[in-house]
Symmetry: C2
Subunit: 213 residues, 2 copies
C-alpha cells in the first residue's frame, strides 16, 4: 500500500470521527443526552448505525470524547486571562470566565461537572479528570498569589480554593438547572438571570475583598 494512500485513509477516518462527534454534540445540546440515539446520530451523518461502532466503542465513548472537548473549551476561556498580572484581578476574571462558560455552554457544563453517567466512566480511566486537577491547580496557585498580595491572610489556601470553587460551581449549577431562575423570579425584581448571576458574583467578590489586609 502506498504511503500517501494510508495517510488519506487515516485522514478520512479522523474526518468521520469528527463528523460523528459534531452530529452527536448538536443532537445532545438540542435534545439532551439521554434522548438522542445512536440511530439519530447515524441518520444525521447518513451512515448506518453499525458504522458508528467502527469509530467509537460505545455511546459512552462518544460522551467521553465530548467531555474531553468540553474541558478544553473551558481551559480556552481561562487562557485569555494570562495577561492579567494582578492576582486578585485574575481571580475575578477566572470567576467571570467560569460563569460565561457555563452560561454559553450549559449542556457542556452539565456534561463535564454534573452528569453521573460519564463519571463512572471517568472513575475507571483516571487520565480524564487530571484536566480537572490541573484546573484546580491554577485556582490554587492564583489564591496563593493573592495571599502574597495580602489577601486571604490567615487562611489555608486549599480551603479558600475549595470555598471559591464550591461557590462558583454552585452558582453555575443552580443557574443551569433553572433553580436560580425559579427562586429569583419573585424575589429579585425583574432583573435578568444574567444580571442576577453577575450581581451575586460581585457580592461574592466583595465578601472575598473583606478578607484583605
Amino acid at each position: 500500500m502506498l504511503m500517501g494512500v494510508a495517510e488519506r485513509k487515516e485522514r478520512h477516518k479522523e474526518d468521520l470521527k469528527r463528523e460523528i462527534l459534531d452530529a452527536a454534540k448538536s443532537l445532545f445540546t438540542e435534545k439532551g443526552l439521554e434522548a438522542t440515539s445512536i440511530r439519530a446520530i447515524a441518520e444525521k451523518i447518513e451512515y448506518s448505525p453499525a458504522t458508528i461502532y467502527l469509530y467509537y466503542k460505545d455511546k459512552n465513548e462518544i460522551v467521553h470524547a465530548l467531555h474531553s472537548e468540553g474541558f478544553k473549551l473551558l481551559v480556552s476561556y481561562f487562557n485569555v486571562l494570562n495577561h492579567i498580572t494582578h492576582p486578585f484581578e485574575r481571580l475575578k476574571g477566572m470567576g467571570r470566565a467560569y460563569i460565561q462558560f457555563a452560561v454559553q455552554n450549559p449542556d457542556t457544563y452539565m456534561l463535564i461537572f454534573n452528569m453521573d453517567e460519564p463519571l463512572q466512566h471517568v472513575a475507571n480511566c483516571f487520565e480524564e479528570w487530571n484536566e480537572g486537577d490541573r484546573a484546580f491547580d491554577i485556582l490554587l496557585k492564583t489564591v496563593k498569589d493573592c495571599q502574597n498580595h495580602g489577601y486571604f491572610s490567615g487562611f489555608v489556601p486549599e480551603q479558600i480554593s475549595f470555598v471559591i470553587w464550591s461557590t462558583m460551581h454552585g452558582l453555575c449549577t443552580l443557574r443551569t438547572t433553572g433553580h436560580l431562575g425559579h427562586v429569583a423570579v419573585a424575589r429579585s425584581g425583574n432583573q435578568s438571570l444574567d444580571a442576577l448571576m453577575a450581581s451575586t458574583f460581585e457580592t461574592f467578590v466583595t465578601v472575598l475583598e473583606k478578607l484583605k489586609n
Copy 2:
C-alpha cells in the same frame, strides 16, 4: 359496597402505591435512575409491569413522587434546628444539616437538585418547587435575622442568601459527583472526605463571620 370495604380497598391502593415507591427508591439508589426499569420495579413487588401504570401515570410520576418525598426529608433535617435562637448559630446549623442531608442521601440530593429529567416535569407543574421557594425563604429570613444582630452589614440580604446557597450547593454537588474527592486526594493529606467537607464549611463560616459589625 360497604363503607368499610371501600376504605379497606382505598387503603390497599395506598399500600400498593407505597410498595411501588419503596421498590423504585431502593432500585434507583442501587442502580441509578436511568438504569432501573418499570419491569424491574414490577418484578420486585411481584406484579405485572402493566399494573404499575394503574397507580402511576408515568415513570416520571414515580420520580416526581420520590422528588417530593426527598424534599420533605430535607425539611425534616432543618426542623431540628428550630430551638436555636441565635440566628447565626441557626444559620450554621442549617449549613451542617444541608451537608448531612447530602452526604446521607446522595441519590436523593442529586434527584432533587441536579437531575434534569424531573426538572422539565417540575417546570410544568409549578407547585413542586414552591417547596424549594419556601426553603429559600427560610434562608433569607435567617440572613435578615443575622443582619439584625450585626452580621452582613451593608449587604443586600437576597444576594448574601444566593451566595450562601451557591456555596453550600456547590460543595454538596462536588462531593456527591465525586469531583471533590478526586481533587482532594492528593492535595489535602489523608483526611477523610467528610472531614474535608467539614473543614471547608468551617472556613466558609469563618469568612462569613468576618462580615460582622
